[in-house]
Amino acid sequence: MTVIFRTILVRELTLGLRRKADMLMTLFFCVIVASMFPLAVGPETELLRTMGPGIIWVAALLASLLSLERLFGGDYADGTLEQMVISSHPLAMIVFAKVVAHWLLAGLPLVLISPLLALQYGLDGDEGLILVATLLIGTPILSLLGAVGAALTLGLRGGGVLISLLVLPLFVPVLIFGSAAVDDAAAGLSIEGHFSLLGAMLIAALILTPWAIASALRISIE
């Protein structure tokens, strides 16, 4: 079981690293979106400090949404997805490996860049740290839920916009707890609750979404 996970993971990572442009694109998208807001709302540090976590979270969310279409699109076009569906290994495991690879290529860079954005918004040391921690737990959930949307809209025209319409409502709880954690930390409130809830959502997503993604794929490749 784990051998197939490793094979598909290695395959996806080699493919992803051979097309660095796609990976960097989502990263730059997040940075650009996050840098737009100060231009829009003005440079007062106090205002930016309070809005910072929310803006960075929305930018990260949109960036990971952007890269979802490539998750299955390429394999669907050249027939390798079919071979995966009819392989003797459970499809949920193959799909799980693909989503983990997608997170490593699209989600993790967002987490690594977020301290930089936190500085841009004047979030000092520990607030920035908390922001990075929430993104670290939150972005895998976004990838897992987003993959369900990507599988459902496989091969449809206007897939990008359609995926966001399907998946953004599901992102709301993650967005709420992710961005609220930093504000409450700044206000000195306790934030264990936020992290335990985010953790619970991550575990639920890890267990339930692979099955949903696999059945969505089976429906879409008909």
Partner: protein, 249 residues
């Protein structure tokens, strides 16, 4: 009454049954709605604090309930459709969606108009209105996905799966929004305590049941259209059309 459900699982035998059932839901819905409207708008005295604007609650709350109930019903039919691979239940899920979306929008609209006189602004980021807004996006997502796929079977199964995933997330969204915002003074109708006068509560219930019956009647009517649309090649549809010349009822 243990009707053998699988006999009615085939669209051909469900079509006439649905036709007969529609009046049984439509007429009581009309009567109840009329009673509720007359009592709600004219009989009940104005509220001492909110004056007349509290009357909007008689359609706002039922619409909000219905939008939630219909989404869960859609998920239920999607599950049934997927487990028994029955096309009819998938059609039922699709037939419910537009009515659910309508109730969702109306809940938002009436919520805003009710909010203006009571809270002073049309849109208030209050927990239940925000959940209602997100639910509207989920309805739109459901219908957009269903419309984007040509093949009717794949469309039904894909949107069905989305409804199931969505229904699983509705409580999570509700509680996270509820936690996020404690502005709203708690649901005025909570199972244990009811701040509202008994008469108001009864009118609300009448309107809720009327809305519920209305939704079923419309869903049955729309599912008949779906059946005719999807089964147009089946022999029974051709007979039906030629036999009755102009099909009615």
């Amino acid at each position: 009454m243990n009707i053998n459900w699988f006999k009615y699982a085939s669209p051909a035998s469900f079509y006439p049954l649905a036709g007969k059932m529609i009046p049984w839901f439509a007429i009581p819905a009309g009567i109840l709605a009329f009673i509720g409207l007359v009592m709600g708008l004219f009989v009940l005295p104005p509220d001492f604090k909110q004056g007349e604007s509290y009357r909007i609650i008689f359609i706002h709350v039922p619409a909000a309930w219905m939008s939630m109930v219909i989404y869960l019903a859609m998920a239920f039919w999607a599950i049934v459709g997927m487990v028994w691979n029955s096309r009819l239940s998938a059609m039922m899920a699709i037939a419910l969606a537009p009515t659910g979306a309508m109730f969702c929008f109306l809940a938002l609209w009436t919520g805003a108009l009710w909010g203006k006189p009571t809270w002073g602004t049309y849109w208030v980021w209050d927990a239940r209105l925000t959940t209602q807004l997100i639910l509207l996006f989920m309805y739109l997502g459901y219908m957009a996905l269903h419309a984007a796929i040509e093949d009717p079977r794949r469309a039904a199964r894909a949107s069905g799966l989305l409804a199931i995933v969505g229904a699983f997330n509705v409580p999570i969204i509700y509680f996270s929004v509820q936690w996020w915002n404690t502005l709203h003074q708690g649901a005025s109708i909570t199972p244990n305590k009811s701040e509202m006068a008994a008469s108001m509560a009864s009118v609300m219930l009448i309107m809720a049941v009327a809305a519920w019956l209305y939704a079923i009647a419309v869903a049955l009517k729309r599912v008949r259209c779906e059946i005719l649309d999807r089964e147009r090649h089946a022999s029974w549809v051709a007979e039906l059309v030629t036999k009755t010349g102009q099909v009615h009822g």
